[in-house]
Symmetry: D2
Subunit: 431 residues, 4 copies
């Protein structure tokens, strides 16, 4: 009888996918993983969190993306097979890791993680190792298989080649999300020639390397990535949605800690409020639950919680203006808001985003990273920025953006006309 | 001061849209309508209900589609302006009707409407006429404006040209959803040349008519529509999801009527159980709420409700096989299931779908419909099937598909081996 | 040493292709065939002849299309390999036949073939069997390999499965040109889901058969084909270009036969004028040569040849109107034109096109064809129109279109005002 | 009676275009220009010269591109109309200039211009000012209209805004060719969001300026342009084709000057050989004629001309290797080739390409250019590299590529084995 790990479906199953045309599944293990409740739960977590508030069509889920990463890795392996550096016995491992790499994402990941001080990678591991269907499927392959999959995902696995397939500056994860998010938002920035990149990828000793003839395709990919960050992922309207969500959760948590009696207790959040989270609690929480609570909270008697929830649910967002603290500090602004009677803890927010298109482990690098390596026809290997003038010119390039968020209507409602005038003038000078 | 109805935004606003590239808004009224909670609610209703269970990427909302229909009507009007048959004073009316035409959709529309015997068109009107933000915006245009918009949507408006722009065999609604659903599912069937169709549409006396040179584009559109129905909209897996949802709601309703005590009362469904639904009840219900209840019901003590909910949430669907009642009747099957100890009320379901690609009000038509009319160069107008051999060949063509749904695992669990064998043999012969 | 037929390139070569993304070549034989002058000549024959006069962007060559057909067959084989009905030793044969199937096309195929009474399939064979580079490459595989390739192309090969891969109602040739011509013209009609069709194709005993689950994809393909014929291939402007070309060639031939002394003798056409054509003569003739002569002929002293050539080169086409001979016959028109002093042999033309979307070898069929067969899950095979209502409705559907072509300016220049008035009235009634 | 310049077609004409969907024409003047023989001639000049030798699908003509530039300018004007900086009386001028800007291109522009020391811009003017149909159409608008159109094309027109619409670092010409060449080659590099760029373009005092919110779209456009240059336009295989063409023309010219008797005199090239070119001579020359001669020359008795022509026609290209002259000079290589008996004048070639993604008229710039200017919300105007970190990082970035071309087979045929060995070793070290 065929070992579970080698078992194949009688006929290949396909999922129609707008980005990769079709996702192909033939391994029984992959099929079984897709059917687990923990993986199906990813249908209820949007890939791009609050970005639908800026791009109405960005409504796709992490389920979607996870299948895509799996498919890209599957295609990588098809190309790797003819090279001796590739060990076919790693195949199922990396396919599982690709499929499951985002398993631990919570609802609206970023805001959620910040408020409750949790880390989705941590929960990905917990789901893989814990008392779950996913764990049971993986264990049928072998006792230590869940551990191995977890290690590939958290980059601690000794096989660095396999790790780099899903975690590096040019990996299956990024290649899927750039194309997928581009497709769903309708922007053209995320397009690059993945077919070509797959053709020039080679299994190296400790990493995926790129045949030199693919250098331009990598340049184009890095530029796509850069554009997607600034044009899409860091969109200030989406960040404004996160701000609201963050403040609403903070308020709910504070109220809970103060013993406030909710009209309807948000029972699935309580483990988070109490910072005592079991895997089952985590898995139960998704965007259905989170949105349900936000919709319920509109009717709460606490005005702040009700107001923030109302704003989030009905997209009545805070205004955003540039803010770098040079003209006046956040502290000074806070005082002004408080003097005007606006609760600055919930109604004033500053955040800052930065991105680094490419860097490597050179001495002067601020964020050291593994380089992208090019393989020359003569077999030599070179870090890519030493070969590409355009990548050289952007290596280590940092770019920041800081914004201040506040509700414009609350400013308009300030009773003390003098303070109101001061604040309006100040904000106009900033924005 | 400019009348509200004529007020324009200082600068045109655009929404990036993957289907139409951009959605353009310049009217203050349209902008205000988009911001209402009732319109924002459409973000929480999927355009294609349970279809994401068959096509994982079909996760887009009715918000998405509603903007698209608005945009197509906006472009129709741009082309109509140079014809004297077009009355520019109807512009805002039809734009509002286009935007709001799906306002009354409930969660997972079809199953939901069937179980509670409600009609989304009825609720669209109720939201437009009732105590809502949408109504307040429309009333600022003029007192009877809500009524007019409602009449365009329900096709009772005396201006038949305007009605036909959003409701006919070739209207903005269909042109948007075919393209949009094609884009999101990733299938190629929904593509047709809308640019060309828009170019050949002319405002006629009582309807939109098509210049004869556009006949082939209409043929292609009708074929696209046909393919989308059979390849996408009637996908048996999606229908299987609806079956489950339908049975779960039916069970919940029956339990409520029998006085069952829910662990957590599904309070927003109670007006529906009691068939006493106010506009506010309706608006409050969306797929967040519906999915929340389904997830909650997994933990109910009623085994049937728990099981059906579990199946729906985790996509553990019923099996489907062809069934036309010719070999044995549904009644006979029901008896067999009952004899085997399976509750056929919840675990056996047959449904039937049919589609009519094109027909018109000819004597022998089973479903009379307004024809599509072609405008000849000499000014004559002809019904399209008299001109197009391919449309002639499909006029009145009916196609049906019937399926039987049941849970395969429950069959496998039948204790009485003889009955089990009979049922399995029967089902094998059918499928 | 590896036999020539099995020799592989050290590294796969790819051609970037806008329709199939990449064309993949690994066989030395294929690589060598592509490099032959006879195959490179296809770069100088447009895929769509005079269609660029109607769709300015339809400028692609048969080289382009031939690579595409090869690529589709290559992909078919990849899928066929796992079925025992497929004999891998036929692989190279069908790949070569796919690549070379259009080798014998002359410049502006249709007009050219008609005037000189030649058949491109005949010349494809002559090039394959004759003293050519292509023949030398094929013979290196085996002595009878050229013959076998020729037989697959002309459908006389005993292996009917292999023949059906490039010649049937759903073959690689059609699948490539529909998509390719759609891409280059920019129309959307030629899109269908080839990925899906490839997935459902199975090698049958005597033909490629289609898994039943692919029925809708085939419906869509047949409809695409139908639309492409009527919207693109039969475009009256393109046919008008063919008419001109046909008349110019006819005039040149007549002049040659009458001993007319050309300013510059069209030496490469003389074998065609004299109907004594060697393979070398044929291969030498391409659209460069043909267009060169047409451009030269503008300066000929023969007014008719000069005028027709001028019109073709500078796109000063004849006018076209519908014409079915019911109101008056072509003979009557001819007499009228002659009476008006217009040389009807060159300035009056009627042609007729017809298309049959699908048919099969049933008794009542006017054009018997091999059916498309569907494979049921139970292994039974059915002709497709017995399964698909939409294909059933178009089976045997004939559609004709007849047009009359003449130069409008020559009508305007008729001296006898009475005849002129008569002709104009008549043409207005027709058009 | 309407002035010719204002005359409109009764109904808008459209050309289906795969890049812009449709090209719209309503002005009688534009319609008449398109019909001139000089404009129709552009169908016989490929947009990308020899690039089809590297990308088989790059077979589109300058006719194609010229319509595209016209369409983009037409759309720019539609957006400009609402700004007072735009003068509607310039409309027809810039539309004509857009349509005609490439009128003077000769066959395989670059090689051809180099050998005969001519400039296509010079000939564009000559065609516009000379005894041509184009001139006659333009003169009907007004006596000085041809001059004005010529001045917009050659950038000497006093209206700098209008000039910048078709000639600047972000103009209609570039926006069309990047997208069009990307479409036809099938590469993804040329995609950028033109819709967005058109939306953010504003008519400025002396140039088109860009609203600041469009900065990212411009970044993306500049990167697309950069990639297209290095991945497509500078493709070494295409440059290798140019090398062959250049050498063949040089040989033919030298032979002519030496009194060589051609089997068939290349009469349309003689004015070029004698450097006494009239407009009619120029217009007569196109790629049909050029290719015809190259095909004829294969049969010439001069071995070099015959060989070079054969290579070009049948794509038997020279080999290319990197070459920067650092290891040995071109002169040294020449001597070696001559010593080996290879005619280096025709069989050894080195060329060098460079590109500058963006620069402006700063003191340290090597190639001063007009900057791209951004318009801030407060009305200030800034040079773009002062605002965009990514453009800043590539400003003034130069990149060079040098290649050596030679026929590999001639090296293999060197008789003196010692010299042969030396040359092979040298070339291996270089490549």
């Amino acid at each position: 009888m065929t070992a579970y790990k080698d078992r194949q479906l009688v006929e290949e199953k396909v999922f129609k996918d707008p980005v990769h045309r079709y996702i192909h599944v033939r391994d029984q293990v992959i099929w079984d993983l897709i059917k687990t409740p923990e993986f199906q739960r990813l249908r209820r977590i949007k890939q791009l969190g609050t970005l639908y508030l800026a791009f109405h069509s960005a409504e796709h889920s992490r389920f979607n993306h996870s299948l895509g990463v799996y498919e890209i890795v599957r295609r990588m392996i098809e190309n790797f097979r003819e090279y001796e550096e590739w060990d076919e016995s790693d195949r199922l491992l990396v396919l599982c890791a690709a499929l499951l790499h985002d398993l631990g994402h919570g609802p609206f990941s970023h805001s959620f993680e910040k408020i409750f001080d949790i880390d989705h990678e941590d929960f990905t591991r917990k789901i893989i190792y814990g008392n779950t269907e996913v764990n049971r499927v993986l264990k049928r392959v072998s006792t230590d298989f869940p551990l191995q999959v977890g290690q590939v995902i958290d980059k601690s696995h000794p096989n660095k080649l396999v790790v780099s397939m899903i975690s590096s500056q040019i990996d299956a994860d990024r290649m899927d999300y750039l194309q997928r998010d581009s497709y769903y938002t309708g922007v053209s920035y995320g397009t690059f020639d993945m077919e070509r990149i797959l053709r020039v990828m080679r299994p190296g000793k400790d990493e995926v390397i790129i045949k030199e003839s693919g250098m331009h395709a990598v340049e184009d990919y890095l530029m796509s990535r850069y554009q997607m960050y600034w044009q899409v992922y860091f969109h200030p309207v989406s960040r404004g949605g996160e701000v609201l969500l963050n403040r609403a959760l903070k308020r709910a948590k504070n109220l809970y800690e103060q013993g406030y009696v909710f009209k309807q207790a948000p029972k699935y959040l309580i483990p988070f409020f109490e910072n005592h989270i079991e895997v089952e609690d985590y898995v139960r929480l998704d965007e259905t639950v989170m949105n349900f609570y936000l919709q319920e909270w509109i009717q709460e008697s606490d005005e702040i919680l009700s107001d923030l929830s109302h704003r989030f649910v009905n997209r009545d967002l805070f205004k955003h203006i540039p803010f770098d603290g040079s003209m006046l500090t956040f502290g000074e602004l806070t005082e002004l808001f408080e003097a005007a009677g606006i609760n600055s803890e919930y109604y004033l927010f500053s955040d800052s985003y930065s991105d680094l298109p490419y860097d490597y482990d050179r001495p002067e690098a601020r964020n050291k990273r593994r380089p992208i390596h090019l393989l020359k026809p003569n077999g030599q290997i070179h870090e890519i920025s030493s070969q590409s003038t355009i990548i050289h010119s952007i290596t280590g390039l940092h770019r920041n953006d800081s914004k201040l968020y506040f509700p414009k209507d609350k400013i308009n409602d300030i009773k003390d006309l003098e303070i109101k005038g001061d604040i309006i003038n100040l904000l106009n000078e900033l924005g």
